[in-house]
């Protein structure tokens, strides 16, 4: 029971945790699991690609997790979670049929409709692919809008790549796929090395990696801070305009409503103003260590 009747300001539903049932679990890699969840009561809320929810494990706490399902999935949301501590462990250990709580979705979206360049690049590092999955799905669905659509996706090892069925599907539909790992194995035929190093100058079209018309390219980038930093610098070096480089930021999100202060990155409250920001706006702060 909520007590909105005695609350002078209407209580935002985003402040109230809502029970969701885990309807399925998919083990993606050792340590990464996708939960499919649906509200116990009422309708599944709409979301936009890149939005984040606060997932709660009873008695343990909440963690900010991006929605990794596509906007076409209307019966459930997916959250792809890495075991990183007590909260994420408890979330992942919730059995099918068990309940978690969800607040959200929070934040803004990848500017998919606004992308007006001929070429479009998506760069994912590690689990940074999760908040990009819905965006990739929408981009591939409108692939005729672009002359070229490319994804550079890096992981530690081939076994750490997730959503491999989607990757194959998107590739069939025309996505140029460039996979790279830190350490390969005998069967590995993709790249080995860091994500920024897969991005090559237009004048060097024969090189290994991805070469686009960088002056006419929009980029969506998601991954660890250091990966996004060097990717953005590389893209600017190649000639991509900073306002066309979009990062999705991660900070210690707690309240999700801009009230608790934790997710600040310079002037930005990530939950309120982000998570998606253009490098033109956030670069001068994102580049600063420990900011």
């Amino acid at each position: 029971m909520t007590t909105t009747s005695t609350t002078p300001l209407a209580l935002s539903p985003l402040l109230v945790p809502r029970p969701y049932e885990v309807i399925d679990k998919i083990d993606e890699t050792p340590g990464i699991t996708t939960l499919l969840v649906t509200p116990v009561d009422g309708a599944l809320p709409d979301f936009a690609p890149a939005q984040v929810s606060m997932l709660g494990a009873f008695g343990v706490g909440e963690a900010a997790i991006s929605i990794s399902s596509t906007t076409r999935a209307t019966k459930h949301h997916a959250y792809t979670i890495r075991r990183a501590g007590p909260i994420t462990n408890a979330l992942v250990d919730t059995p099918v049929g068990g309940q978690i709580t969800v607040r959200g979705p929070f934040g803004n979206a990848w500017p998919i409709a606004q992308s007006d360049t001929r070429h479009h690049l998506v760069v994912a590092g590690g689990l940074g692919i999760a908040p990009l999955r819905a965006a990739l799905d929408e981009l591939v669905n409108r692939i005729e809008r672009f002359d070229r659509l490319a994804l550079v996706y890096g992981a530690k090892t081939p076994d750490d790549l997730v959503f491999t069925e989607d990757l194959a599907d998107w590739k069939m539909q025309g996505l140029e796929l460039d996979l790279t790992v830190d350490v390969g194995n005998d069967e590995w035929s993709g790249g080995v090395g860091l994500v920024p190093d897969r991005l090559a100058p237009s004048s060097n079209a024969s090189s290994d990696g991805v070469t686009l018309d960088w002056a006419d390219t929009t980029a969506f980038v998601c991954g660890p801070d250091v990966m996004m930093h060097f990717t953005a610098l590389r893209l600017i070096d190649l000639g991509v305009r900073p306002e066309r480089i979009w990062l999705t930021l991660e900070r210690n999100m707690q309240c999700g409503n801009g009230l608790c202060g934790h997710c600040q990155l310079g002037p930005v409250l990530v939950c309120r103003d982000g998570p998606v920001m253009s490098y033109a706006d956030i670069g001068m702060f994102h580049r600063v260590k420990e900011l």
Partner: protein
Amino acid sequence: MIGTKCHVENPPVCTTVDVWLHGLGHVWGYAMTDSTARVLDLAGLGKLIDALTTRGFDVYGPQVRDGVIAHDLLRSVDDLPIGVTDEQSGGSYRLASRNDDARFGYAVGPDSWKSLLHPPRTKVWTMTRSATGALEVEMAETEPAKRAFLGMKPCELAAIHKQDRVLLDAEHPDPSYGANRRDVFFVVVNCGDPAETCFCPSMGTGPGAGPGFDLALTELVDGAAVRYVAEAGSVLGNDVLLTIADSAATEADITAAEAVVTEAEKRITRQLDTNGIKELLYERLDSDYWDVVAERCLTCGNCTLACPTCFCTNLEDITDLTGEHSERWRVWDSCFSLDYSLLGPAPNRSSASSRYRQWLTHKLGTWIDQYDESGCVGCGRCITWCPVGIDLTEEVKALGAQS
């Protein structure tokens, strides 16, 4: 102007948080029939406490507690600190006697009024897990509290307006703060006794009160005799004033009251140059000088607890022994704690210099981008209550001198 949004449906027309906050009799800024300044003697001040109590307010005011000026329930004028002042400097605070019977003859103590509006611990919700694993959520009650804050200094009123902007003028306002904040009656006392650590003129928050009070008093002290020049800032304030004071202030009273504020301002020597301060701090994000401050900073977080505008909170879950009930509590947090900036398993701001930089740059710089105003009111608490006396005004000067 505080807000642009309002979620109150009755009264029916409501366009800003200001109107919501002041919509139940507190409206300020429209013509009042009789808003002449009036004079109260000490008995009149007692009548004010009684009048507010009769109207259903719990009246809080400054009192001596544990060697400091703190806020507590006020039953009579005798509870106020009589003939007491505070001596403050970097890392030092002590009470001292005055040679008169002033009731408001000090600057500010360590406790700000945020303890009442945005308490250190607030229950957010209770959750129950049934035997089948089904979860049920019950949000905590947020009953509006009807309180009067008597004896707040102008910088403290300004601080509350800054917290209003953060916690109420948000897309999803904080319901607990909203309930605590809605019916507060503000009795400001213009500051006649700034401390050595004060710099409110630099921040435009004092020593005279800005808008937003219900009543503003200026204490006129003559040995054991005290009188108060009172002006109303709201309809309710005016109503209350008319019931307790029938004598209008004379020209001489008003001149004396103005002199209290102008003399106080002359005694404030500490300054913060706010011109271009945001740009300066942004240019200094990479400065080595943060390491110099960090050699002194203990990262204890005292400044954030004492600061009347620091609003950051942490969310904590606790479970009872049955494992069936869980509670979420919101507790004050500090950007000086390591857990504050956890990014995955490790803090993003592990160095002391990065944490001091976050605090200072937020308070004086990024706050301007976030909320269109500075986060500082110049009350000097962070200087006084810093165990090693770090003075943000000096640190900003030093940063400005760096290339």
